[in-house]
Symmetry: C2
Subunit: 479 residues, 2 copies
């Protein structure tokens, strides 16, 4: 940075402190790090400041002041995103606006099956507040102890319960949003049915903060599932797993809350993370399904699961299976799923993808992608797993232990191209649940149709004409 740039930054920081108060402005570079480094720690940047408003009015004021000072605003929740959507990339012209101090549960109304919470509430905090009221929030994901509900909404988070409850979008009854000019849009009602014109709040769900800063959200709540039954099943193939999924939707009356597919290498990876991990099922099946049924009230979930498994084993859709007899046993089955992720992380830098195709084409897609990857990257470990019921798989490619950083970068780059080419043939999505952010913007922009690009650009310009909110994220309007 030149000395004039430093002086300019210092002036901006002083102006921010003067206008917003020292308690709401972080300027110390060390204190900024956790807001300016991404979740994986791959990318670290900086910002003029990190702003920490504690109310909707304070967010609006921060946005207005930044506009006056010519600063762009990067909104940030728990900073657990995987696509660089909430971290800055232009240290001299951007501030991070963290919602972490807006973490109040404004209301919890079990009789209305709804809650209103501020954007900075950690997802787990919302889950627990719902549970304390005897209710259930239909959103659950790996980062739930750190991610914030505002970020979940802004990225339209998925997670493990999408099958039953839908993406984050489907949990939203209303939003409060600070617009790029500092205006507050109060669309925070809890109405289930409201056809008063275009449903403007939909625009901000999954917008990754490029159109406004989500400050609060009204959420749907559900009856708490009092019975949760978990099974780990061995199957012949992904193809059979999909047939099993279809059968389970029908036979189990759409009461599934999870249906996760894993290949046998998942167990090897899980063991690398937790060497003591044991599972009550043989580990030589070509595929595994972790299946969960949940329900409340008068339906006996265990009896339902037992009858279902009896039938599908008789029909040879399932080779072997075990049903957890206790919460501890169920937790152990889930530990397999989670330890597999840890095992991958321990293997060092590798390609992680998050793609989706139609369910009818999922097994052909995975077969083609894996065939090409194994031909092009014979030394790498390729594994495909995920939320199969949603057509969403993670096809990951792990270089051998011997690979150095340069070789790993090459694999990550080339294997991604290889998978994307197959995705394009299957008209699939390069981002099923993680979003676009800054990381996937080039891939996104390369694939987007002209009409869609024009619409996105027109909307961005209509709502944020000066490009103040999260520039360079998702789409570049000046491109």
């Amino acid at each position: 940075m030149t000395s004039s740039a430093i002086a300019h930054t210092a002036d901006l920081q002083a102006a921010l402190v003067r206008r917003l108060g020292a308690a709401s402005v972080i300027t110390d570079p060390q204190d900024q790090v956790r807001y300016c480094r991404d979740w994986h720690g791959d990318v670290t940047s900086g910002a003029v400041a990190v702003l920490r408003p504690d109310s909707t009015q304070a967010v609006a004021e921060a946005v207005r002041v930044c506009a006056e000072l010519g600063l762009a605003v990067v909104p940030q929740g728990g900073n657990t995103g995987l696509v660089l959507g909430a971290t800055p990339d232009d240290p001299q012209h951007q501030v991070v606006l963290t919602l972490e101090r807006m973490n109040r549960v404004r209301s919890m109304d079990p009789g209305d099956f709804s809650a209103v919470v501020e954007a900075g509430c950690v997802l787990q905090q919302v889950q627990e507040a719902a549970e304390d009221a005897g209710m259930f929030l239909g959103l659950s994901l790996g980062a739930e102890g750190s991610c914030q509900i505002g970020g979940n909404i802004s990225t339209n988070a998925g997670g493990i319960n999408v099958l039953r409850y839908g993406m984050a979008r489907e949990q939203v009854l209303g939003l409060e949003v600070v617009l790029p000019d500092g205006t507050i849009l109060d669309a925070l009602g809890t109405l289930r049915k409201d056809n008063r014109g275009i449903d403007i709040k939909q625009l901000f769900i999954g917008a990754e903060g490029i159109l406004g800063v989500v400050t609060a959200v009204s959420l749907k709540l559900h009856p708490r599932p009092e019975q949760v039954e978990t099974a780990l099943l061995g199957v012949d193939s992904l193809h059979t797993a999909i047939a099993l999924y279809r059968r389970a939707r029908r036979d189990c009356c759409d009461l599934m809350t999870a249906f996760e597919f894993m290949p046998p290498s998942a167990f090897m990876l899980a063991r690398e993370a937790i060497p003591s991990l044991t599972l009550p099922i043989a580990m030589d099946h070509p595929g595994y399904v972790l299946m969960e049924l949940s329900g409340s009230g008068l339906v006996d979930m265990r009896a339902l699961l037992d009858r279902f498994l009896e039938n599908v084993m008789a029909d040879e859709l399932v080779r072997d299976g075990v049903v957890a007899a206790s919460r501890a046993q169920a937790a152990n089955l889930w530990k397999f799923r989670e330890a597999m992720n840890e095992g991958q992380a321990q293997r060092g830098a590798h390609l992680r993808t998050d793609v989706s195709v139609s369910l009818s084409q999922l097994s052909s897609f995975v077969e083609q992608a894996e065939t090409r990857l194994r031909a092009e990257f014979p030394d790498c470990l390729t594994l495909s797993y995920g939320h199969v019921g949603d057509g969403n798989v993670h096809i990951n490619v792990i270089p051998p232990a011997s690979a150095d950083a340069v070789e790993r970068d090459r694999v990550i780059h080339d294997a991604k191209d290889c998978i994307n080419a197959v995705i394009d043939e299957f008209r699939g999505s390069i981002s099923a649940e993680h979003g676009i952010g800054r990381l996937k913007r080039p891939e996104f922009e390369a694939r987007i149709s002209d009409p869609r690009r024009q619409l996105l650009t027109a909307i961005k310009r209509a709502i944020d004409p000066d490009g103040r909110l999260n520039p360079n994220c998702q789409i570049r309007c000046n491109a």
Copy 2:
């Protein structure tokens, strides 16, 4: 019309016929009537022409030609809407664009739980095509024999299954839309999870055709509910009905597909329409609930309903009840619900509303509204019924038989103001499922917040800068 206007209209008609072909252009005023008169027959207008394109390309061409000729386009589905959203109001400057010839099922993929259909498919046709494939579409409403799926999407239709499957929005996986400049937006995928940037298709759902013409839609399908159990229950009050609803969601594991509340006067009205109608339950209860459980596979719905009713009768939430023992008996219970509507129609012009509040406030809201209505309109019959689980009621006010047209108009106008005042106090919606159209635009515009108005206007101008699509519907941008 002046002779120069007539000559101008004739020129425009000739140009449309020349550009689009005689088979696609209706100019005869008699042939236009059914496209230019609203569903209730209350309002009849006219148009330069009615255009009947038979493909997406032909819709795009029609929209482009109209733009060149300076004509505005009013898109129309089955013309069953209740708020004048699909009929013209400026005969010399508007055409109606009907989607009725675009009525092909493009694909039906039970393995993917999805279908792709053209906008002009009648809803019932889509339901039947799904059923033929062993699947189920989660959208059902009174007009399903006439309304078209494109209209359902454009109005975000509700109906009787919202409880379980959500509004029309939640059935949509993808859309194909002709934009105001004639560009075709192909967003017709069937992906369940796709977080590639802002979900642009959401804008067109519930937009009542002011941003684009929906030409095709990808829909979610569900396993077909093989067991449907229906009960008619007598309850103490709406308050108790709501308590029963909450209990049913928990105890019946969210497997309800309908929960309709009716007051005792509903039976009187139903009998006026069908004098022979008899019901297997006493007609002197303060309220009635028509409840339906549906499911597929291994859950025994009848046993579930029986156990539930046993419990809630023991707990005195239900005074009396009957479960349909056959499809014919279930149809008879539903006939009660439908005949009530016919009975109202036979009473002549009256006020129909479609409002919603939060479920926690629903019974207080109805009590206050009814108290005020009975005080102000003592000679009228006031009745409140509807999809209680969604917080959605129809509070209708029927003038006495002796009232003349002038008196009826006065009641309709004043009673609406009376209900709207209570709605505003409860922060409810003046249009839960019917939309805004041209009919409710003044009420809508009077209540909308400045930030929301600015956003809607900015989006309309960004996408339809010349105001070519469905002008005067929902919001006036030049206002």
